[in-house]
């Protein structure tokens, strides 16, 4: 059950020039959110940035009734969001979407995140109680590679890549993943990031016969399955159909998705 909430901003941190973390007080979200879910935020009253902006939940603090989002300033909506101050009230719809599949306790899992898609996976790592967790994280450059301490704390092994080599290995995170997959295996891989990346993750997982879930993105209207704008192609018996990312996803089994 998602709710329309007015919640207070507790903290806002600038993590990188265009990257911010907002901490929001919300008993309801902190209590009910599951990894992979998102909130749909009205960045300002009125018509400027009219639509809500979907942003994934990056972590929750159930005791204190708080949750975090990490977002990048891309346009008008996220710009307005980045100017918020502690004490401001935010109009939030959430938690929305389906969450990641919960693996067995003795599983060995990997997460593969790229860019801004890295951060929702932190919530997943924190929630997962399983035998072994590996984090593959790809960033554009060192500047955007933030919260690494937290990822480190929540994972048993961690690999970082940057496009420009300014931190970790130079190249794509999928390069390392593919390399590792030739050496070891995982029970399940979870991925979030650019479509090209997730497509490669899905292919690698298929090749190695590993279960894999991806969290997809698309421009949204309602965020709740009513307006039918946020589609992705998924397989069905006799071909394909358009599923709705906000309500059928955002998490899909990679085998269901047709990346084209």
């Amino acid at each position: 059950m998602s709710k329309l909430l007015k919640e207070k901003i507790i903290k806002i941190e600038k993590l990188a020039p265009l990257l911010f973390r907002l901490t929001i007080q919300s008993e309801y979200i902190a209590k009910n959110a599951k990894p992979g879910q998102f909130v749909n935020i009205k960045c300002c009253d009125g018509i400027d940035a009219l639509l809500r902006r979907p942003i994934s939940i990056c972590s929750v603090n159930r005791e204190q009734g708080l949750f975090d989002i990490v977002f990048e300033v891309r346009g008008r909506g996220t710009e307005i969001l980045s100017l918020k101050k502690p004490g401001d009230i935010l109009d939030i719809l959430g938690p929305l979407g389906k969450s990641f599949y919960a693996p067995k306790d003795n599983s060995k899992i990997a997460i593969v995140g790229g860019g801004i898609g890295v951060f929702p996976l932190l919530f997943l790592l924190k929630e997962l109680r399983c035998a072994h967790k590996t984090a593959f994280l790809g960033f554009r450059s060192a500047e955007n590679a933030v919260l690494l301490d937290e990822f480190k704390k929540e994972s048993d092994s961690m690999y970082v890549t940057t496009d420009d080599g300014s931190l970790g290995s130079k190249g794509f995170v999928t390069d390392i993943l593919e390399q590792k997959l030739s050496e070891e295996s995982y029970d399940i891989i979870y991925s979030c990031g650019p479509v090209v990346m997730m497509k490669r993750v899905a292919e690698a997982a298929q090749k190695h016969e590993i279960k894999c879930q991806v969290s997809l993105e698309e421009r949204m209207g309602c965020g709740i399955g009513a307006c039918l704008v946020c589609v992705c192609k998924t397989r069905k018996d006799d071909g394909w159909e358009y599923s709705h990312i906000c309500s059928d996803g955002t998490v899909f089994w990679s085998s269901e998705v047709i990346f084209d």
Partner: protein, 309 residues
């Protein structure tokens, strides 16, 4: 909620009886289900469901939505489960609530429309709304909507199969909407609804491509309100049948503009995305306005606009 025991806000749109004049607009409210967690659907005057076609449709490629100043462009392209699935899965759900069901239908040919009307006429719905004006599908309904003879033809044909209140939804993408309105009236429409979306385009200047995969889409939301109010006014001055007004309504004051201009009811579309409680807020706003100005009946507002000299 505004207390309003002695306020009469029920409207009768050519036999379509609504307990209040606020209807969720087609394509923006799914089949009601999605919004039931945020609002009590019993409070709505009615729901115009997602545009239906004879066969299921997958719709257009994504992206299907682009934000524009105070508006959105959409190019859903009538994704829907088809009229049969609607009858089987959706009518029973919505019927649990005390609200009118308006079946919005679209087709590629006159025969499609007629067949759907014939099928739906036997079902437990309250009215049929002819979508002859969707800008997001290539063949079909566009062609009917943008000229009086097309509208006349389709309306008079569908009329033969439809004993329920028949609402014809008009497109704003015409030179003079009074002409298509008149054609629909003459062809036997019981009521008109307007406006559908205005054809528009938004460009991603860095990719040098339209944002929408379909290149063009339909504009809706607050941006279109003054155009919609003008058209509703023009149509109300032209036809005798009731008119349902829409286009950018986000609150009670917006709705009152349409009612004053002559609309007997209003539909709320894009605003639902921004505020899932929009329909209820619109209704409460209309009531507050009536209270403030001591109107007892919604009919005291409808068409009460006086022109400046």
């Amino acid at each position: 909620m505004v207390i309003s025991e002695d306020m009469n806000i029920a409207v009768d749109i050519a036999g379509l009886k609504l307990k209040n004049p606020v209807i969720a607009a087609s394509g923006t409210f799914g089949f009601g289900r999605e919004y039931s967690q945020y609002i009590d659907l019993n409070q709505l005057g009615g729901i115009s469901v997602k545009g239906l076609t004879l066969e299921p449709r997958q719709g257009n490629k994504p992206p299907r939505i682009a934000e524009t100043p105070a508006g959105i462009l959409n190019s859903v392209g009538l994704q829907n489960p088809g009229v049969h699935s609607f009858i089987e899965n959706e009518i029973p759900y919505i019927r649990q609530f005390d609200t009118a069901i308006i079946a919005n239908i679209a087709g590629n040919t006159v025969e499609d429309y007629c067949k759907m009307a014939e099928i739906l006429d036997d079902e437990d719905i309250d009215a049929i709304e002819l979508n002859v004006s969707c800008p997001n599908v290539k063949a079909g309904c566009v062609a009917f909507g943008n000229n009086p003879s097309g509208i006349y033809e389709i309306t008079s044909q569908v009329r033969k199969f439809c004993s329920k209140p028949l609402i014809v939804k008009l497109t704003p993408n015409v030179g003079d909407i009074r002409e298509t309105a008149k054609a629909a009236e003459e062809a036997g429409a019981d009521a008109l609804s307007l406006i559908n979306t205005i054809l528009g385009m938004a460009i991603d200047i860095h990719k040098r491509r339209p944002i929408l995969a379909n290149n063009m889409g339909g504009l809706s939301g607050p941006a279109v309100k003054p155009v919609a109010v003008r058209m509703v006014y023009e149509v109300c001055q032209t036809v005798k049948i009731p008119v349902i007004g829409m286009g950018g309504i986000s609150n009670g004051d917006d709705a009152v503009e349409f009612l004053l201009a002559g609309a007997s009811a209003v539909m709320v579309g894009t605003a639902n995305f921004v505020n899932p409680r929009a329909c209820i807020d619109v209704l409460d706003g209309i009531k507050s306005y009536m209270l403030k100005h001591k109107y007892k009946s919604i009919y005291d507002i409808i068409g009460a606009l006086e022109l400046n000299q």
